[in-house]
Symmetry: C2
């Protein structure tokens, strides 16, 4: 394949390489007739610039890495889509790294064996803590997603999980529920998202004059639908009484729906269910699921904005941004009582 190079075009147009380069980059100071001649040569030869050479010369790759635990998890794939679309708008290519929550894979994201692959990284850590990220991050501009770490050296975007959980509880309270359970894996650190959501849940209850009942905080053994289903079923069988469940994510909420259906409890009449992340799953279930909705678009836009600034040279300390959330109300919660 005889690739056409810049010099070939230059030769054909009878100008210097640099002039051709200027035409390609729409550099203003090129006389119109010359520009036309060069453009003609480009078209005739079918010239296409070699990205790799450009990168070597400029030191920029125009690519960012997007590192997430699992690309086929609904929340991450939907967020990835938003990020991919925003990135395209900014002229950035996205390369995906799947960490599967493995510490080594996460470290590799920040400190690759090779350098110069990407200009920056958007990273949703699971394993790595604040300290370690801070130690490795100087290598490359990084924007962090999620709640597990917030070092001062990297930027960070998230929603206010405490407030969002409180909003979820408030919605349930407004519709008359009083015995609200929280369904989520709680063995992890209180700084993780589940911990924050639990905190918001408790705060809102207290603020509304209700003493949180610890038996209503239901731990789940793993991350599968079956785990959450079993956890709720166990609660039901233990005779724990509740009229609503706030779940740490949509998958757990789907598990809850399964458990409630099996137990013959009607949703939302007997028990209201609120999921989290507002993924497509929320529309697929029966009944459809009311879900706490992070503004994924805003998350994507904000993260890319911060990253772009860093790529372009910003070197200040880590910035933290909170993006909006809302609640997508569907069939799994009853209409709010008015008045």
């Amino acid at each position: 394949m005889p690739r056409v190079r810049l010099v070939d075009v230059a030769e054909r147009a009878g100008v210097s390489m640099k002039t051709v380069s200027n035409v390609i980059h729409d550099y203003p100071h090129v006389a119109p007739p010359l520009r036309a001649r060069v453009q003609a040569a480009i078209d005739e030869l079918g010239y296409r610039p070699n990205l790799t050479a450009r990168r070597l010369a400029t030191g920029r790759t125009g690519m960012i890495a997007l590192a997430m635990p699992e690309i086929d998890h609904p929340y991450f794939s939907e967020l990835s889509r938003s990020i991919a679309e925003e990135a395209k708008g900014l002229g950035l290519r996205v390369i995906f790294e799947q960490t599967l929550g493995e510490a080594d894979a996460e470290r590799a994201v920040l400190h690759d064996r090779e350098a110069g692959l990407v200009d920056g990284v958007i990273f949703h850590p699971v394993q790595m803590g604040t300290m370690e990220i801070a130690r490795l991050a100087p290598d490359v501009p990084v924007v962090l997603l999620g709640e597990s770490a917030m070092p001062v050296t990297s930027d960070h975007v998230m929603i206010d999980n405490v407030a969002a959980a409180a909003d979820g509880v408030a919605l349930l309270l407004q519709s008359g529920r009083r015995r609200i359970a929280f369904l989520g894996t709680v063995r992890d650190d209180i700084t993780g998202s589940t911990g924050q959501r639990l905190l918001g849940y408790q705060e809102q209850l207290i603020a509304s004059g209700i003493t949180p009942d610890p038996t209503l905080v239901l731990p789940v053994a793993g991350f599968s639908i079956e785990d959450s289903r079993d956890a709720l079923t166990q609660a039901i069988e233990s005779g724990i009484h509740f009229d609503a469940v706030l779940c740490r994510d949509d998958k757990f909420a789907i598990g809850a729906l399964k458990s409630l259906a099996a137990a013959g409890r009607s949703v939302p009449d007997d028990v209201a269910v609120v999921g989290w992340d507002d993924t497509h799953l929320a529309g697929y279930s029966s009944p459809t699921l009311t879900s706490v909705a992070p503004d994924k678009r805003a998350l994507a836009r904000t993260a890319l904005g911060l990253l772009k600034e860093r790529i372009e040279g910003f070197a200040g300390i880590g910035r933290h941004r909170v993006v909006p959330h809302s609640i997508s109300v569907r069939e799994s919660t009853p209409p709010v009582e008015t008045g």
Copy 2:
């Protein structure tokens, strides 16, 4: 950031650049003591090779593009995950292109304005036809997924949709169903996947001595769950009698479940439902969904294998590979009658 270069390491170790390069690449003919000395220099300086420069020198990028219609569609995201994992095993990085089924985006996949971005492309076309792909594809090694096009110049991997549909129908027949409906968008070309699935459905019925009833082929207006739900509801309201539904994908099957639940039909007792793609959705629904299961892992492995061969120079005509499928039996179909 004072990047360490190959020459810095060479200088420190008192050898030539090339020797350092040889050490990095585990080139065999380097004397052990020298190798150790060079390695020490590498470690002390924290040297990491610059990928861009390497690419320019070798002409290889070590990256492939994965172009799919939507990265947050369950089937595509799950397939992407398999491909990403296989690619990692082969030392390839994956950059994602989302075409959203737009013709321009699809064309850009095969003929980018810039060259040298990736070594090859795995592409699931929706809009582009055989002709156009054949015209554009010579630029870069391509492996096609899906059924919409199969030019002789590119490789192609798929499952046998006709046989898979027949298997689905056979399963339903074995469990005693006789009035089997087919739910799917049929306005598209008979060569597309839906057409092939419909064909297999019809063939299997005929092979079993049943005359296909055209009123049981149910068109769907769009691609959403609501569209499929409404399509089935309309069929029910029209008084069409059926005791099973084979759906063109899991999403449509979820819509079917919704419609049947609303109509008070029990699944699988009154109506059995079979989905397609065996995505995570199949396990999330209630009842869980029996689904035709393409072997995604095999698909990924096969596609990458073919692509790798092309990247390494294979230039024969397009090869076509069929990978296995099976049926994941879950709750939405009754147990098969034995005997």
